[in-house]
């Protein structure tokens, strides 16, 4: 793991200047210190268009949209610092690894790729996400995994190592959400808030530990994960553990619950056509 470099002096606003870019071996290094997101992302897109496959962005301090709309399965981006909102929104292929925390909207409407955050993340992760994987090490906020959907070979997967707040998996239409409740700063609190899976009409949520029925939306059925379920889940957990430097055996010590929707058409009977 590369050593994280944080800003050494206080940052007074962002500057509309192109960031400093240098090449170290096969790594393109971009120093984003105090650079406005627009210029930073232009530099990232420019480097990728120029053939860079491995990028390291240093001194990131809340700049938005890193990796947004970026394509290329063989592109790898390291983000050192705190990634701003909408990290990897609409991304289509690359791998983005954050050595720090991420803010809101990670993986928003994402198509494909991998996002690994070695820290906590904010609200509304994976909104409308259609493919790829998001692995968060620690806690996440509200409305995480909202309206995730699957289509043919595209199946989004998100694994959260810590706790999650209310509306986890709201409107979920496809894909898989996994909540471990392990790497949390809120160990004295329930591992997930209320309205879990409310409006859910597709996909699967796995919870390591327990949830009460009152925490869940009325559309959600709760069952213990079967052997077949664990056979589906374990390779994903193994991949997550490898990415986050955790032991699979520790994760598997506690049994999982599987949450699925009662119906793919929760509102089919609500309406009376005139």
């Amino acid at each position: 793991m590369t050593q994280t470099k944080y800003a050494t002096q206080p940052i007074e606003g962002y500057r509309h200047v192109a960031p400093e870019v240098r090449v170290e071996g096969d790594v393109t290094v971009i120093d984003s210190n105090a650079v406005y997101y627009k210029e930073l992302n232009e530099a990232i897109r420019g480097a990728v268009a120029g053939g860079a496959k491995h990028l390291r962005i240093e001194n990131v301090n809340g700049q938005r949209y890193i990796g947004t709309g970026l394509a290329g399965e063989d592109v790898r981006i390291e983000v050192h610092g705190t990634a701003g909102n909408d990290l990897t929104m609409l991304m289509d292929g690359p791998t983005v690894e954050v050595f720090g925390n991420a803010q809101d909207g990670v993986g928003n409407t994402m198509n494909a790729g991998r996002v690994i955050v070695h820290g906590d993340a904010g609200d509304v992760l994976g909104y409308g996400m259609r493919g790829g994987r998001v692995y968060i090490k620690g806690d996440v906020g509200y409305r995480v995994g909202i309206h995730m959907k699957a289509y043919e070979s595209l199946v989004p997967i998100m694994v959260i190592g810590g706790n999650a707040r209310d509306f986890f998996g709201e409107y979920m239409a496809g894909g898989m959400l996994v909540l471990l409740g392990m790497n949390t700063q809120f160990a004295d609190q329930p591992l997930v808030g209320s309205f879990l899976g409310s409006g859910m009409h597709g996909g699967t949520i796995y919870i390591r530990g327990t949830v009460e029925a009152w925490q869940c939306g009325k559309e959600v059925g709760i069952a213990e994960a079967t052997e077949a379920d664990m056979a589906e889940l374990t390779p994903i957990l193994a991949d997550y553990c490898e990415a986050q430097g955790m032991e699979l055996a520790d994760v598997l010590k506690v049994p999982f619950l599987k949450l699925t929707p009662f119906s793919h058409r929760p509102y089919g009977k609500l309406y009376a056509p005139m």
Binding site: Y37, K38, N41, R64, Y65, T68, G69, A71, N85, D86, M89, L90, M91, D92, D104, G105, N108, T109, N111, V124, Y127, G128, R130, R143, I146, H147, K149, A150, Y151, L154, E170, Y171, A173, G174, G199, H201, G202, H264, R265, P266, Y267, G268, K269, L270, Y271, A272, P273, M274
Partner: protein, 503 residues
């Protein structure tokens, strides 16, 4: 007891003396009104008065009449109110309907008249003199830069802040209607017509079918709360991107395309499995404030190489303040949808009771943006029952840059306004996915009719401009002095910024 207390709304009458017994009515009706036993036998209770059979009957022997005995007269308890109560007593459901608000609210456009030149200021003959309808959709610079051309004159400086504008040959565009709510042949008709007219069609929230890629330079791609079909490729294909917050026929509520309409093709453009409901949540869950809206606008710009991004909202009470926020958030246009706008499916109570008239919304938004000195930052698109070229001209005089037509364009394709789109059985092949019905619209035929309609309206707008003595639609924009009100109350006139006739 009968299964329903609701009596047929229409009576289907066939003059059997004239009838050829050809069976065409049986085949044409999308709702299965007719059975055939030596001659066609109608079931009145299924009829929606879409007039498909009437139009196609070779003997002209079908007539459809309102059932005169269905409801006893009562001005307070209208037949609609009683029908609704019975339907809800039977089902316990939220009443689902479609198309636009049919209630007899005041139609402000019909109370506005335009000016003309007489004696002191000559009118212009649009047949012989140039009459410019070209309109630029997008954010305009605070000031225009010019540079000298090589002939000792001046020209607009390179870019001049206009590079992100879309050039339209007419101020009329097609409004968003998703593939799924309408058929692919309708989408193709609209896309082909938009390309030929030098204007725009709009995908609505259902994604862009590959068959429309050849027309993508004339397509606005929409991003709604369900994010259906939204991918980097989709955003990069459109001429502009539109964030849909609301629509006039159902302000404040989400969309819901029932699983039956999600066939293989629809599922491929929406990128969701077949047969599941396509649910658009009421809000975008990444937008809870103007700051969040700004974040999404710039995310879409970042993902698309800084294409123009517009925001569509339903016209509601506080529309001026909301529009101001949208413009400040960085939108290139604000799309205002009035409360008479059409839709493929909406709860009746929402359609008929929520939102404000488009005329009011245009006037207050235009005024607010002018007062705040940001009118140039964004264009205004107005929609929600634009019924004629007169409505186009009046909307522009009230302050719109561009109008969008949805219901009118479907009428050009044969829609008879039967308000049954939500059934998915449209006999005219418009709001349906059934192959035996969708093939009724040939895109080439559809495109031609749409081109004819917009050409006709554009010529009429030119006639109006000529009468007004101006030679460009730009000169009419926000020119409320050229409007007068007849029979509007003082407060409404004030809000519209229009004087009563005679003043």
């Amino acid at each position: 007891m009968p299964t329903s207390l609701i009596q047929p709304e229409f009576l289907v009458k066939i003059d059997y003396d004239k009838c050829h017994k050809c069976g065409r009515c049986v085949q044409q009706c999308g709702w299965g009104v007719y059975s055939f036993n030596e001659r066609p036998i109608p079931d009145d209770s299924k009829c929606r008065a879409c007039h498909r059979c009437v139009t196609y009957c070779p003997a002209h022997c079908i007539s459809i009449e309102k059932n005169p005995l269905a409801y006893r007269d009562n001005d307070n308890w209208s037949s609609d109110a009683r029908k609704a109560i019975w339907r809800q007593a039977e089902t316990g459901g939220v009443l689902l309907t479609s198309m636009g608000n049919p209630k007899p609210y005041q139609r402000i456009f019909d109370h506005l008249v335009l000016d003309a030149c007489q004696v002191t200021n000559p009118s212009i003959d649009p047949l012989r003199e140039p009459m410019e309808l070209r309109t630029y959709l997008g954010s305009k610079p605070d000031s225009v830069q010019v540079e000298s051309d090589s002939n000792g004159g001046f020209k607009l400086a390179e870019g001049a802040g206009m590079h992100n504008n879309i050039k339209l040959d007419t101020p009329i565009i097609f409004s968003p209607m998703s593939y799924g709510s309408v058929s692919l042949n309708v989408h193709k008709s609209l896309a082909m017509a938009a390309t030929r007219l030098g204007t725009l069609m709009n995908t609505g929230e259902g994604g862009l079918h590959a068959d429309l890629y050849p027309y993508q330079d004339n397509v606005i791609v929409q991003v709604a709360s369900g994010r259906f079909g939204v991918s980097p490729d989709y955003l990069n294909r459109g001429a502009a991107i539109e964030i849909k917050i609301g629509q006039g026929a159902k302000p404040g509520i989400g969309g819901h395309l029932p699983g039956e309409k999600i066939n293989k093709e629809v599922s491929s453009t929406r990128m969701i499995p077949q047969g599941t409901d396509a649910i658009s949540p009421a809000p975008h869950h990444d937008i809870y404030s103007i700051e969040d809206l700004r974040q999404l606008i710039y995310a879409l710009k970042e993902a698309s190489g800084y294409k123009p991004v517009g925001v569509k909202i339903a016209a509601v009470h506080n529309v001026a303040a909301i529009a101001s926020g949208i413009v400040r958030a960085g939108a290139d246009y604000v799309y205002l949808d009035g409360f008479k706008a059409g839709t493929g499916a909406t709860p009746q109570v929402i359609r008929d009771n929520i939102g404000i008239p488009i005329e009011i919304a245009i006037a207050v938004v235009d005024q607010r943006l002018r007062d705040e000195g940001i009118r140039n930052k964004a264009s205004i698109i107005a929609a929600g029952s634009i019924r004629s070229s007169a409505d186009v001209a009046k909307a522009i005089a009230l302050g719109a840059d561009v109008v969008a037509i949805g219901s009118a364009s479907l009428m050009a394709l044969g829609c008879h306004l039967c308000q049954s789109c939500h059934t998915g059985c449209c006999s005219w092949g418009i709001t349906t996915q059934k192959p035996e019905l969708t093939r009724r619209i040939d895109p080439e035929w559809g495109a031609e009719r749409l081109v004819n309609l917009v050409h006709a309206w554009s010529h009429e707008v030119q006639e109006i401009l000529g009468a007004l003595g101006v030679n460009a639609v730009e000169s009419l924009r926000g020119s409320r002095e050229r409007l007068r009100a007849i029979g509007l109350d003082e407060q409404t006139c004030k809000i519209l910024g229009v004087k009563p006739a005679g003043m």
